[in-house]
């Protein structure tokens, strides 16, 4: 009970701290790892640790004490018999363990072979056309026969080992016990041992034998626990992002004006050091300006957003906010001033209300409804029977892309940031919902510095300035009217590409 108490307290501490660490890790940490794998292994590691501290360590010590104490008691009963016992039971126990492990290994090999042979079936069935085209039926049959035969022979071998194991248990283990009883009765007959001692001796022998077996099992557990502990310590000792999550700092809020500057920024993702995404990118955004960034995919548009959020820091050059280097702001207060409406909006499991309030924890119901109205989300939310209490996310109502976007916009409205980043959805919404989203965005952008990553050029014509990014540099800059006139330019060609499909749209586009 004490062990469980202590361990649960300790594990709660470790869980909390590792989650703390995980959440505060910089983006570089996540981009260089597979997150799903990371978290599932972490929880496996922690439950391994739980077993280790509640049972493994305790069991190990208990077995150890029983072996030492048991042997001492045996020697006290009869030194001679003790020596005989020591020569047989532990040896047999260890052989049993090793034998058992060997059998398990063979069983696993059989499983692997079976999997192998079913892969052959799967492959040939999927590629049956190729098999037939190459007239390779005979070859495949031969291949499968071989695999099947090896399964059968391995399984037979396994069966033989299992049989041998059972026989060994009968002969070896019980034989060993009988051998000791036989020795003990001889001593009894000679009057060198009393009946009570003999019975006590047998009991302890069984206990000690079991403990020897148990300790061998526990050793495997300890080896696993060692690996788990190492990985947990790796995470716990990892350097987190320089966040300021203390509550006091949230009160004395820094309010940015919304001026942004990129000065000769060079950047590559840590996971891909060979490709420099941004190669000396420079631009400036004035307070309240609406900037659209366009360019071919892979040009570095999304990277700009990531750098603005300071998910990463530039390798060279500076990013400034209100003329001050971004590095001089605390990450938390900087991000408090920026809202992002991402391409794909993730809703957390919970009510719509909670999801909107994510933009400003502690927001009142009135504020939430107000934000939803501004985001053109109020009418569809009240359309649900449960209204703002409707549960969304994996286990709740599935919202459409446009609805999710409007929730994200409502979040941003609540956050009321100086700077707004929009990563326009690549997949187009239906025209009705696109209109609603666009309208909501227009309202949201009013009076804020906005940076829009545009994939569809039709939505950005009213931007104050359009920056065309190619190969990590700004190659063109100006309003739609200015850029479209340069028929040699990337912008013109991008536009042409996008509107070639529908002549009408093209006409409309050029007229505007």
């Amino acid at each position: 009970m004490l062990f469980v108490n202590v361990t649960e307290d300790m594990l709660a501490d470790i869980r909390k701290e590792s989650y703390n660490k995980l959440v505060q890790m910089p983006m570089t940490f996540f981009s260089s790892r597979r997150v799903g794998e990371l978290t599932s292994r972490l929880s496996a590691d922690i439950s391994q640790l739980q077993d280790t501290f509640t049972t493994t360590i305790a069991e190990f010590l208990r077995q150890f004490i029983i072996i030492i104490g048991g042997i001492a008691a045996l020697a006290w009963f009869s030194p001679q018999l003790c020596l005989v016992m020591m020569g047989t039971i532990p040896v047999l126990a260890v052989i049993t363990i090793i034998f058992g492990r060997f059998i398990r290994k063979t069983a696993k090999q059989v499983q692997d072979k079976i999997a192998e042979s079913s892969t052959i079936v799967e492959e040939t069935m999927q590629g049956i056309a190729s098999v037939k085209a190459f007239a390779n039926e005979a070859y495949e049959i031969l291949r499968y026969n071989k695999a099947t035969n090896s399964v059968a022979s391995l399984a037979k071998k396994g069966g033989m080992y299992r049989g041998a194991f059972a026989s060994f248990i009968i002969v070896g283990l019980f034989g060993g016990i009988v051998f000791i009883i036989w020795w003990a009765t001889t001593l009894l007959a000679k009057g060198e041992l009393q009946v009570g001692e003999m019975i006590g001796f047998m009991f302890i022998t069984i206990m000690v034998g079991a403990s020897f077996g148990g300790i061998a099992e526990l050793y495997a557990q300890i080896q696993k626990a060692l690996g788990s502990t190492e990985r947990i310590m790796d995470l716990l000792e990892e350097q987190p992002e320089a966040l300021d999550i203390s509550y006091s700092s949230a009160d004395e809020k820094l309010k940015l004006q919304g001026e942004i500057g990129f000065n000769n920024v060079h950047f590559n993702y840590p996971s891909r050091p060979e490709t420099e995404i941004l190669q000396g990118l420079s631009f400036a955004v004035k307070t309240g300006e609406k900037i659209a960034i366009v360019g071919p995919s892979g040009a570095g548009k999304s990277t700009i957003i990531q750098l603005l959020m300071r998910f990463y820091n530039p390798n060279a050059g500076t990013i400034t906010f209100d003329g001050k280097d971004a590095l001089e702001y605390s990450l938390t207060s900087l991000r408090n001033n920026i809202a992002i409406v991402p391409q794909d909006v993730l809703l957390f499991g919970g009510s719509i209300k909670e999801n909107i309030a994510y933009g400003k924890p502690g927001a009142t119901d009135e504020e939430i409804v107000e934000a939803a109205k501004k985001a053109n989300a109020h009418s569809f939310i009240t359309g649900f029977t449960e209204g703002y209490e409707t549960i969304v996310g994996d286990r709740g109502t599935q919202l459409s892309g446009g609805q999710r976007q409007r929730i994200a916009i409502a979040r941003a409205v609540l956050k009321n940031p100086a700077i707004l980043l929009l990563d326009e959805a690549t997949s187009s919404l239906d025209s009705e919902s696109e209109k609603l989203v666009q309208e909501a965005l227009d309202k949201l952008m009013l009076g804020r510095t906005s940076v829009i990553i545009a994939h569809r050029l039709s939505t950005i014509r009213d931007a104050d300035r359009i920056l065309v990014v190619d190969k990590g540099r700004i190659v063109e800059s100006g309003s739609h009217e200015e850029l479209i006139r340069n028929t040699e330019g990337i912008y013109y060609n991008l536009s042409k590409l996008q509107f070639e499909l529908t002549d009408n749209a093209k006409k409309e586009f050029l007229e505007n």
């Binding site: 009393q194 302890i204 495997a220």
Partner: protein, 114 residues
Amino acid sequence: MAARRNEDNDLPKVKPNKENLRKASRIFRYLKPYRGKYILGLVFLGLTAATAIAFPMLLSRLINASGVSPVGGNTMDAVQNAKISTDELLNNINIFGIYMLLLFIAQAVFSFLG
């Protein structure tokens, strides 16, 4: 044995060496706030193990108390040979019986606390 619960998980085994043992031992720093309780737990664990061993030893005394002699024979022989009364003999047996009962109670308590 609950320790076997995780036996079949896929976590890799690690051969203990100086470096990884030192690293893993830093986990004990999370045990620190609860050190006292953990040590107490270890004490109870030791007592549980000790009572487990004490059981066969007391058992042997109980059986001997019945007076079964090494060369066979039964209680009545013992009464005649050792020249003690049957009452005395039964009394001895009862005493060891009670000791054993107490031992089990103690073991149960230690095991619960540990």
